[in-house]
Amino acid sequence: MSSKLSRRDFLKMCAGSAAVISLSSYLAPFMKEAVAAGAPPVIWIQGASCTGCSISLLNTVHPDIKEVLTKVISLTYHPNISAAAGDLAIKEAIYKVAETNPKNFFLVVEGAVPTGAEGRFCMVGETENGEPIVFEKLIKDIGSKAKAIINFGTCSAYGGIPATSPNPTDCKPVSKVVKNVPIINVPGCPPHPDWMVGTIAHVLLYNDLPELDSFGRPKMFFERIIHDNCQRRQYFDNAIFAKTFGEMGCMLELGCKGPYAHCDATTRLWNNGNNWCVGCGGVCIGCTEPQFPAWPMYERMPDMPVGPATSVTADQIGLVLGGATALGIAGHLAGNIITGRIGPKKADEAKEGEA
């Protein structure tokens, strides 16, 4: 356990309020120390997933993922990178590690849990007498022995893509299948690698869960709203809306879910700071939210339940959604104009913020 990095400093860094060029390069030495001091192993299993979360983790910038793989995380079994296959993978790398470290390993889950057809929509192996091991059974067996479960991606956290109507395979989020084990949700389709590395770092360094919002997301990454920090926010405030792709303007009319979506992509950026969803002229599709992807991606949401205060937390959004106080986006915009927060400016004065 490192004594050098206080939890307070850790949170500052993860939330991006301390000047650190690269989150993972800063955390790496502390994580290595924690692993050397006997931090619990990490088992990674995949259910109804597209492997996108794993691929995103491979995009960790610093330390280059090789550090994470070989030194930082004791990544005992990963379906895409393990040398083992077949029996060897299931018995040695999953069940044995879980059994020899009861309540002392972290289980990372990627993908939702299909429960239809007795779980046979996702079979991950076979027993000695030829019966399929379904993912649902694997996660129940292993999950119940874990110290905590870390859901990487919206599928394991909330059901995500495969659980969308009509949910052909009766997919469920992990929390509906494994009870009484602490769960951290790191949603996103996929999650940013920093969110994954940062969350794992937190549990390894402090042997404890980070502070979570009401949807189980670490507040250090998911407290802020895209819309509030968007590089195109100025356009919104000036009521300049893009009508087609490739145009300047706020993307709300083209379906942007920025006012709903909680994450720090606006400032963290993706793929080594090269771009992000709205940065490339696209829309935010709200992939970190429990409702994703139930909404139409390219339709403007009729109601934007943000209310007059534009900075709201996930918990407040939840309250607003559940209450009758939801204001439409028109009201939100009108409120801004009435209160003088935004004044008419010439369109050509508006400049796009550079990423």
């Binding site: 990963h78 040398a83 771009n275």
Partner: protein, 484 residues
């Protein structure tokens, strides 16, 4: 007769089970089973059709750009629109960048550990301990390149994000083009990445494949497969509404029983004889095909359907593309091209080809010019077809849209379905899937360490997230075997 079952096969994308029968250590029959089903196309039904590019790219996190591309081409086709040159080129750059990351990831991180002995630590251990032949110094070099390749494939994704917004799962591909507007700074940043990756491909990737191929030269005569190839054509090089006929970087075509022929997509059907779908739903073309799941069907063993071209099993992927393009380096291998090493070799030289081509494409971009053609959904029922070449092979999306602007039928016929689908027919008329065919006849030295089998499977770079996504319109059938 003994059986070997490998389940799960790791270091592939998704879930696969392999079962083989062996006699005197030689495989006499093989069954490949896709073991995860998500019903992606059913999820599209009734949605806003424009969501297809976002939903369908989430079939697969390794090759989302392929599904985004096929999905968007089908939408363009349905709406009768085409992107301006900038839109076409940026789509090609997004797709091409992912070829680089996918091929490099495939060889080094999914396939190489079958030939290169990793360090003695997790996740490189435990492993099948068999047949590591590389001399110690070359092995050590290959391990270094394995680690360097992790960085390079990450950079390929960063380069993609310059145009795509983020990776995995791109945001910038929209009907009628893209959303990202090119400027010179983005172009030069992209070219700088490309230069570094091209150097890696030519000085590390291709030489490593050649070094492995030299030591494992017997693998040029293992895993031949069906020796029929199919390529839809990919990377459009000109404007034009005929998405099938327009000039492309990869030519379309088929190679059947030793004959080169033009592609006729009307000959493509999807069969379900040994898939967990009701028999009477097989044999249709993908613009109308809908299937009914039947998880307890007798004789069925996979969630994958079996696409056939005029009844023939067809291999798709880099080897198919290069063979149909008559690449002299691949043709020079003769029959040895039809092999595990032939596939790795074709994939490696293709990676270099694409990187070189992308440099030219990037320089054709016109900063500040339009990237997207405005569009609206048609007011009548239409079918859009999107055909492209994914990094793993021929990929087609068929999208039927209702007159009130909702998705009615969606079908994605993907590379791994072609390569890894189960057999069709029965008795003497049985046509095994290409992967099964490639495995039959293989000698397994040690049945408790069947490294030979996984080598053949991985040479085809299968992706089971992609392969199993088919839908049933009949929910009642699913609930028959649901426990709830």
């Amino acid at each position: 007769m003994a059986k070997i079952i490998v389940d799960p096969v790791t270091r592939i994308e998704g879930h696969l089970k392999l079962e083989v029968e062996i006699e005197d250590n030689v495989v006499v029959d093989a069954w490949t089973s896709g073991t995860l089903w998500r019903g992606m196309e059913l999820i599209m039904q009734g949605r806003d059709p424009r969501d297809a590019e976002q939903i369908m790219q989430r079939i697969c996190g390794v090759c989302p750009t392929a599904h985004a591309t096929a999905g968007i081409l089908a939408l363009d086709d349905a709406m009768g629109i085409e992107p301006p040159p900038n839109g076409r080129i940026i789509r090609n750059l997004i797709f091409g960048s992912n070829y680089l990351q996918s091929h490099i990831l495939h060889f080094f991180h999914l396939a190489a550990l079958d030939y290169v002995k990793g360090p003695d630590m997790a996740p490189f251990k435990p492993r099948y301990e068999a047949d590591y032949r590389l001399p110690a110094d070359i092995n050590a070099q290959a391990v270094d390149i394995y680690l360097e390749a992790l960085t390079i494939r990450r950079k390929a994704q960063e380069m993609l994000a310059i145009w795509g917004g983020k990776m995995p799962h791109v945001q910038a591909i929209v009907p009628g083009g893209v959303s990202e507007v090119p400027n010179t700074s983005k172009i030069y940043k992209f070219l700088a990445y490309l230069e570094e990756i091209q150097t890696f491909i030519d000085t590390k990737y291709i030489p490593t494949v050649k070094a492995v191929a030299g030591v494992y030269s017997d693998w040029f005569s293992i895993g031949a497969g069906c020796q029929n190839f199919l390529c839809y054509g990919g990377f459009p090089q000109e404007e034009g509404l005929d998405h099938v006929k327009k000039k492309k970087f990869f030519d379309s075509g088929v190679y059947v029983r030793g004959q080169y022929k033009e592609l006729d997509i009307g000959l493509i059907t999807e069969e379900v004889t040994h898939s967990w779908y009701a028999d009477d739903t097989g044999g249709n073309t993908p613009d109308v095909a809908v299937v009914t799941a039947d998880a307890k069907k007798k004789g069925a063993y996979s969630w994958i359907k079996s696409p056939r071209y005029n009844g023939e099993a067809m291999e798709v992927g880099p080897l198919a593309r290069q063979w149909i393009a008559k690449n002299p380096d691949v043709l020079a291998l003769g029959d040895k091209a039809f092999s595990v090493m032939g596939r790795h070799f074709a994939r490696a030289i293709e990676t270099s080809q694409i990187a070189k081509a992308m440099k030219e494409w990037a320089l054709q971009l016109q900063p500040g010019q339009p990237v997207c053609t405005p569009h609206e959904l048609p007011k009548k029922e239409v079918v859009g077809v999107g055909l492209c070449e994914g990094s793993r092979g021929a990929l087609g999306h068929w999208h039927r849209i209702s007159s009130d602007g909702r998705t009615m039928v969606y079908n994605a016929v993907v590379p791994t379905t072609w390569n890894s689908g189960p057999r069709t027919g029965s008795g003497a008329a049985t046509v095994r899937g290409p992967m099964e065919e490639a495995i039959v006849g293989t000698r397994v030295a040690d049945p408790s360490n069947p490294v030979e089998l996984v080598r053949i499977i991985r040479s085809m770079d299968p992706c089971y997230g992609c392969a199993i996504h088919v839908m049933t319109p009949n929910k009642k059938t699913i609930s028959q075997f649901a426990i709830n």
